[in-house]
């Protein structure tokens, strides 16, 4: 009976969800309804016993041989965190059938993931999405992969073999007090498995109608005096997509990567993690670029982005006492990127110290110091140049956070702030206050007020991008150029968030967040005065546009998702996101970018993921993602449907079959105005994968 009530309320929820449904949305609703009816319409089905494996039937000796998945305290605490947190677990990764991190991130409610072409994605939370989404901070094992040149993440070169990932924590909303600047609208933390958890060999091979790979080889073991180690190599090739104009996008993408991780126990109190990567890859794109000031001035050409890099990280953790731990992390990261129109190199060196201390029963304090030095070389080309050509910048930071148990296990207040000094805009203070109230084990309510800054990148302050040349009056060419502004200020947000989590029954839990953000000093594009320019020759008219900080605005939204264990073998995860944005100009700004930003993030997103465990070690997963249209980009609304079947053939071998984008072949997900590439049309794909552990 309870089931039918749950089913009914589920129907209601779906109807509300799609109440402003267009035709295609209605079809999705029908699809979901049909699926639910198909499952429940059969007599006796709902009567099937809810059964989890009964371990009490096993002997102690057998129990001692079962390997358990251990959930760390930090992860467990997400249920009571005073922030909008979503964790992608290993199990989620296994079930998703995703081939890369961006596809995996689609399951995170509140994230907007739109693929631009084969290797480029626009990924953001709470608006401002684009190829260079500059308000989302991404870290891999504590190493930032947010580019201080372009202010954004190059998803095509940030590869982590999915089999090495322990979990991905996604925090929506500002995280700057703890994670640092640029965590304005969210933080993505990709955390890899300890080498202690990956003993033995692992081989994965796969292929499909548009991909070869990723082929992965990994081997882990234990070396005397060193500790647990793992070496991994991965490579793949993804074939090109057609462009919106129906032409070959020539954007095929290939990457090879090798990496290692060593986890050593130095003493009872000290542990050391060392890890590193090297990678090399290339991806094509079609771009409109200026060639010269003489006709033909511009051309749409196929370019090939070539990138390579490497990084090395060490983290030393020391337990001073059960109440006090320190961690010291050092890393170096080098990356280069080029095509025929630009050539850049970037080095990051970062030192980070943290001290975690429990003061009495009530206070849980984390404080830390950080230093980062970034240096780059930007070779000038007709398209992109920088002044100065090479630059070294430093970032100093100091942060502290105190979580105070006002009423232990009932009311916790967390106060934190980060003070940073950077070479572009000097000091920035980013505070946050969070309160969580847990009246009982099934409910928790939280609220937060926090501030975060997006500090300027080289592209904001030092770049000159020549967009196009035009034939002008009297045979004098016109060059349209975008200039960085050395006086760019930080983009700032003050965010107000509140959330509610509830475990309604042992089978149904709900997590919802409402936010209201106020932004100021957002980047604007201001047209400058036309002037004569002699370099590059010949003499031409320069039509400049310069960055400013003349926009402000508000966003608000709702993010909700649920976990419904329909039966012991079937789990459903519905999710819904509403988003609204209003930007304004001030100070006589002549900016024209507002419609593009406002219409570049969907107002409605909904998802439904289903996972079914079948007999014979089979597992069937399906997910549908609805994304409403992007008016500024003429991208119509779409529903993406992915499904996969996993079969654990034995202890060591598993097979999977995955279909992606099954509903509609060749549709766009993004064609951002800030994107430098021609967007591709997403293709219906299928692939098969085999993995072997030994």
């Amino acid at each position: 009976m309870e089931f039918y009530i749950a089913l009914f309320s589920y129907h209601l929820k779906l109807s509300n969800l799609f109440s402003s449904a267009t035709n295609s949305e209605r079809v999705i609703r029908r699809a979901l309804r049909l699926a639910v009816i198909a499952l429940f319409g059969f007599p006796g089905f709902s009567a099937c016993p809810a059964q989890t494996p009964d371990f009490t039937q096993k002997s102690l000796e057998d129990l001692m041989n079962i390997e358990v998945t251990s959930v760390s305290k930090r992860e467990q605490k997400t249920a009571e965190a005073a922030a909008a947190v979503f964790v992608i677990t290993r199990e989620d990764i296994h079930r998703s059938g995703a081939l890369n991190i961006p596809d995996l991130l689609r399951m995170v409610p509140g994230l907007d993931v739109a693929q631009i072409d084969v290797g480029n994605w626009a990924i953001s939370a709470r608006g401002f999405n684009g190829q260079y989404s500059n308000k989302l901070l991404v870290l891999i094992d504590g190493r930032t992969v947010y580019s201080p040149i372009f202010a954004g993440v190059f998803w095509d070169s940030q590869n982590v073999p999915l089999s090495s990932i322990e979990r991905i924590e996604v925090i929506r909303g500002p995280g700057a007090a703890v994670w640092g600047s640029n965590a304005v609208n969210g933080v993505i933390n990709i955390i890899t498995l300890s080498a202690k958890d990956t003993k033995g060999g692992y081989i994965a091979a796969g292929a499909g109608n548009s991909t070869v790979g990723p082929e992965t080889v990994s081997y882990g073991g234990k070396a005397p005096k060193v500790g647990a180690y793992r070496v991994t190599a991965e490579g793949f090739h993804v074939s090109a997509l057609p462009t919106m104009a129906g032409l070959d996008g020539q954007d095929d993408w290939r990457l090879v990567q090798g990496g290692f991780r060593v986890d050593s126990t130095l003493s009872a109190r000290d542990s050391l993690t060392s890890e590193g990567d090297i990678y090399q890859g290339n991806a094509g794109e079609i771009a409109f670029i200026p060639l010269s000031l003489q006709p033909p001035e511009n051309a749409t050409v196929a370019l090939r982005n070539r990138y390579s890099g490497g990084d090395l990280l060490m983290r030393w953790k020391r337990t001073l006492s059960p109440e006090s731990q320190t961690s010291l992390q050092v890393y170096f990261d080098r990356t280069t990127r080029s095509d025929s129109t630009y050539n850049i190199g970037q080095n990051n060196f970062d030192v980070d110290f943290q001290h975690h201390i429990l003061l009495g029963d009530r206070q849980d304090i984390v404080w830390g110091l950080g230093y980062r030095v970034s240096s780059d070389e930007i070779d000038p080309t007709l398209r992109i140049s920088a002044t100065p050509q090479d630059r070294r910048t430093q970032l100093f930071s100091l942060f502290a956070q105190d979580e105070i148990a006002i009423l232990p296990n009932r009311v916790h207040l967390s106060l934190g702030a980060r003070l940073e000094h950077n070479d572009f805009t000097r000091f920035a203070l980013q505070p946050s206050g969070r309160l969580v109230w847990t009246p009982d084990s099934r409910n928790s309510v939280w609220g937060a007020v926090s501030a975060a800054d997006r500090i300027p990148a080289r592209s904001d302050t030092d770049f000159r991008v020549n967009f196009e040349a035009l034939p002008g009056p009297g045979n004098m060419p016109i060059l349209v150029s975008l200039f960085g502004n050395p006086n760019q200020k930080n983009e700032q947000v003050t965010a107000f968030e509140t959330g509610y989590r509830t475990i309604l029954t042992s089978r149904f839990s709900l997590d919802s967040t409402v936010f209201y953000n106020r932004y100021r000093d957002l980047v604007s594009l201001e047209p400058g005065t036309i002037s004569l320019e002699t370099n590059p020759a010949p003499v031409h008219l320069l039509m400049p546009e310069t960055f400013g900080n003349s926009l402000f605005g508000e966003t608000h939204g709702i993010e909700a998702f649920a976990n419904w264990k329909v039966t012991s073998f079937w789990t459903l995860n519905p999710g819904y996101t509403f988003f609204s944005i209003h930007l304004h100009e001030f100070g006589g700004s002549q900016d024209g970018s507002i419609p593009g930003t406002q219409g570049g993030s969907p107002d409605h997103q909904a998802q439904l993921r289903s996972s079914v465990s079948l007999p014979h070690n089979l597992q069937w997963n399906a997910s549908a993602y609805f994304v409403n249209r992007l008016p500024a980009q003429s991208v119509p609304s779409y529903t993406r449907f992915d499904t996969g079947l996993n079969w654990a053939v034995g202890e060591r071998v598993s097979l999977s079959l995955v279909g992606q984008n099954l509903l509609k072949n060749l549709h766009p997900e993004s064609s951002g105005p800030d994107s430098t590439v021609q967007s591709g049309l997403m293709r219906r794909t299928a692939y098969a994968k085999i993995t072997w552990s030994f």
């Binding site: 295609s24 079809v27 198909a38 016993p49 494996p53 009490t56 102690l60 001692m64 009982d440 084990s441």
Partner: protein, 206 residues
């Protein structure tokens, strides 16, 4: 190329979606025909706290309480946890209603220390470390089998402590604490323990 593109794509979109809908339904039917999967868990690893709950079941079976100690609970054997114990769900799912020595095992969430008088077993997961010392102290000498997880659980006066070794559950026993509470822990359990401390004459040994 702008909004018109939206309209022109609507019809095939519709058709494909309804095909998918029927496909979805069909798959569900196939699922049903395959039978109701009872043991359909292809996982080689298990949830840590479901396994630990099974250990607790065995601990209950292999412990002898002093005469009269179990009377307070009537015909039930009470395993107590804090009402906001984060592992409550796993413990309840695995243990509630199981029969141990003719008594029905009940997982009892408690709010305050005073309520712990009716407990026969008390479990404190590692996330409850902050309250550990006070609890273990107040239960000292009482016939309550205390099971915990943190490094200093036994030195605080707890009886059995879980730890993980290469992802597998292991446990240590503080026999001295059990003895002073007049609890008799079966030798079968002592043999399987990684270490046994508080043994008379070999205090702190192993």
């Amino acid at each position: 190329m702008h909004l018109r593109a939206n309209n022109s794509t609507k019809e095939p979109h519709l058709r494909q979606a309804s095909i998918a809908a029927w496909g979805f339904g069909l798959l569900c039917t196939v699922l049903l025909l395959l039978g109701v999967p009872q043991s359909a868990r292809g996982q080689s690893t298990a949830d840590e706290y479901e396994v630990k709950a099974a250990f607790l079941f065995h601990f209950a079976q292999l412990t002898n309480w002093p005469a009269g100690a179990l009377d307070a609970g009537g015909s039930s054997l009470n395993l107590c946890i804090f009402d906001d114990e984060p592992r409550r769900q796993e413990l309840e799912n695995t243990l509630d209603g199981k029969v141990v020595g003719g008594r029905v095992l009940h997982v009892r969430p408690m709010r305050q220390l005073q309520e712990f008088k009716n407990c026969n077993i008390f479990f404190l997961s590692r996330d409850e470390a902050q309250r550990q010392t006070a609890i273990v102290k107040s239960l000292r000498g009482m016939p309550v089998l205390t099971v915990g997880e943190t490094a200093n659980f036994l030195s605080d006066g707890g009886m059995i402590r879980f730890h993980l070794e290469e992802g597998k559950v292991r446990f240590d026993i503080n026999l001295g604490a059990a003895d002073s509470a007049q609890l008799k822990i079966s030798s079968q359990l002592l043999l399987l323990a990684t270490s046994v401390t508080g043994v008379a004459k070999a205090d702190g040994g192993m």
